[in-house]
Amino acid sequence: MSFIEDTITALATPPGFGAISVIRVSGEASIAAVDNIFIGKRKLSVAKSHTVHYGKIFNSDEMIDDVLVTIFKAPNSYTGEDSVEISTHGNPLIAKTILELLTKNNVRLAEPGEFTKRAFLNNRLDLSQAEAVADVISSHTEASLRGARNQLNGLLSLKVDELRSLLLNAASFVELELDFAEEDVEFIGKKDLLARIDNILAEINTLLSTYSFGRILRDGVNVALVGVPNVGKSSLLNYLLKESRAIVSEIPGTTRDIIREEVSIDGFLFKLFDTAGLRFSKDPVELEGINRSREAIQSADIVLFINDVEQDFDQLLYNDVLKLNKKSKIITLLNKIDKGYKGDKKYDLTLSALTGEGIDILLKSLKNSALINSNYSEKTAVVSNLRHYQCLTKCQEDLSKARESTSNNMSGEFISVDLRNAINSLGEIIGEVTSEDVLNNIFTKFCIGK
């Protein structure tokens, strides 16, 4: 007996921004699945075990990344199954996109500890190792949605719970007519049922649209670095990028045109705009640069208003910036604190782009601002996890089928098949999977019993 027939995938390296990310795929379909999205010198299906292949990952016509692909054939792999490892550039967006592509090719996301579990089931591990696996599996579930009540997930589980009870109500109406046809209770009409299904479908679609591949992750958060010349805007940009992208010099007015760079912080994409220092100037080139800075400030989700310890806070300039964007989006920064400074309450944050002191706090507040500045109010549930996204997509499919059966005047037991699946799909997100719910709901809501 084998429980292992499907193919699974997951990120093998820690999530986030590293030099490379490794995506692992294991199972019968692994090589074929990667072949579907990979273009290299030759097909992976003809490649030998333990060989490495250079090529590109494509999403239909769009090139995603240059990658190295390593093939391991059963039984000589970690899991004992056919496996593929894809090494990509260490950008969480790329990894997420590739994982998504794989899930469209007969591959599903692995559960925590599942690679190791397979390794064990295929006799690649001994018992003590296996017991460690069990611990891994259980500790991961503890940390899953129910436990980890961070704000985003808390809202999502509330929302899913609400949708699930709406669905239970709809399903109860359908079941009522099947099991209690002889009772003196009112049954649901086709129109009413369709309206209920449509309502839930609309909500599911809204949820799906919040998936962080939505605005924040897809488009990123715009951050403008502004301030008078020479306060260290470019230096900060370089520090965040971990490379010398912008020219830095002690001459004020070094940056003339806007420098645009992307950086990922804990899975959120930030677009940084290093601007020309704002000041009165007669130099036409510099003036043009300053004009562009204004545009960048206007379209920014976050404005980092930077000053350094050597100059006084420029209230006039700050007022100008305020005219271009909302106060809530502006973070005031005091740079060069390595040069010595006496605590200054005017600034939200103080740091040094030279030594890195205070940068961690900046990163944290960037992330928070990303959430607050995104389109979602704090009351909106947001889908940020791919597994949740998949469950919701499944639920959406189930509901569409139920909708179709209803419009085709099918009897309730056929509609019920998909309504129940939809309920289960939502239940998987929040870990609720009892089958008694529909009956319980009927007994509380309807007067049953001759």
Binding site: K117, A181, D184, F414, L439, K450
Partner: protein
Amino acid sequence: MKYDVLVIGGGHAGLEAAHAAAVMGCFTALVTMDKHAVGRMSCNPAIGGTAKGHLVREVDALGGIMGKLADKTGIQFRMLNKSKGPAVWSPRCQSDRKLYSEAAFELISSTPNLEIIEDSVIEIIAEGNIIKGVRTSRENEIQCTTLVLSSGTFLNGLMHTGLKSTQGGRFGELPSIGITESLHKLGFESARLKTGTPPRLKKSSIHFDDLEYQPGDQNPQPFSHFTDRSNFPFLDQVPCHITYTDREVHKILEKGFKESPMFTGIIKGTGPRYCPSIEDKIVRFADKERHQLFLEPEGLDSDLIYVNGFSTSLPANIQIEALHKIKGLEDCELVRPGYAVEYDFFPPQQVDLTLETKLINGLYFAGQINGTSGYEEAAAQGLVAGINAAAKVKGLPEFVLKRSEAYIGVLIDDLVVKSTEEPYRMFTSRAEHRLLLRQDNADRRLFLYGNRYGLIPSDSLEKISEDESLINNSINLFNNLKLHARVVNSFLENKGLSEIDSTETISKLCKRPELSIKEVIGLINDKDPMIGTLLQNEKALEQVEIELKYEGYIKRQYEMVERMEKYESAKIPLTLNYHNVKALSTEGREKLNKVKPRSLGQASRISGVTPSDISILLVYLKN
């Protein structure tokens, strides 16, 4: 003297158990307090209904007797849910209560290998963990190899009407005292349940002419696969009548609430939510203007009417005062007031899927003792317990049906895995594979098992296998056989249906809700001889039609069964000590230890057992 199989209780569970064991060739005895009360309907005089009708069909397809008795004594047959799809059609009949009991006695007393002992059991005797027999009030001890306990609502039965309570399991019948206590001594746990009955009225005192009535079907269908349809139904057919309570009636009933054993807390057992008493309905659904009542005849010669929907334990004077305000019942005579009965049951996690108790080898529980309600649920369990008890004696393999095979499988799995807090009743919505478990294919699903245990004759099985190949071959043929537009379109046009382009398979045409398979076959010019055979076999034709019409849905259900099958067939040894499985969640471990599931599938249905617990078990079992 030692019996192979001893059955305690002559209700619907006991009858099936004793009959099956005897037919399987075991030396069997049925112990009942009153042999003329066997098969007595203590609740309403009806068999079947939604999901229950499915159970009767399944019991019949396994060689049980309930369907045959119901056919013999039915005075109104109806197929419920006829307007819905075939999976939820459910047969139901009104029975002549007296004739049913008589027919049951006749059948049981003429069954070879089966003795009836009139006596009452006061103790269950085991040695170590092996059943030995029972002690009765008349004889000293009856010995047995296996024992099926199916004592209904009699265990410490207590009947309530108003604040008065009387000991007894059924009106006018004594309770069983002593059995519960001896089971406690053996280590079993019991709890209390409650059920209610409505008043019985004198038929001649009711003004039926003023009431709506509900007749049986024009073309009644029998329950049993073996009933001769040529002169069915056998008895005169009679209607039921319908009337309603109103606000005034509710007001009168409310006057009695201070003397209600339910509201005053005298009754401790939990009643069924799907069958609440009239007082419960008034309280819980206060805004409902009226409640529907069915006046069911108790028999052709009987002068009793059963007021279905008016189950109550209010004082008798309140019952009659309220009834007199109901249309048609203005002058009714109360022959017997409604009452509630409380009784002991043994939470069914204590039995295995064979219905053998986990504590005592050779001891089986069936029926209300396991917390179910209803004759059909009882019969289904009785049959399974009887077969398993006999199989144990004969050294045959255990008989366990899967959830994907039968409602009986769903019933027992639910009981064993989830236990129950209220009397358990079957509903079609409990069966996740509902589209596959139809009343019309019970024989296709179960004859094989019935035959394996000697309860279904081989020629019946052969007939069904022939049908099976006819059905499958026909479907294959229809999937490939295409009709031309020129043959089909004028017909479609006449019916006002959309026309086809060039050709279409028979299967695809059959999927159109407006077309019957007979119409579509009628369009075939050059008929394969197999089609002729099919047309002469109504039963097979119906199966082909259902499978073609609902093909997409049915296929998806089969896929679901297949996905689950891996977990269902992953066995867990009953001896597994869950305390040794380290990483299990605390709640999961507790529940697993209590239920001791047989398979991973079963384990996954236990509430409190998480998907990660299942993964961990899977890893652990690999050792």
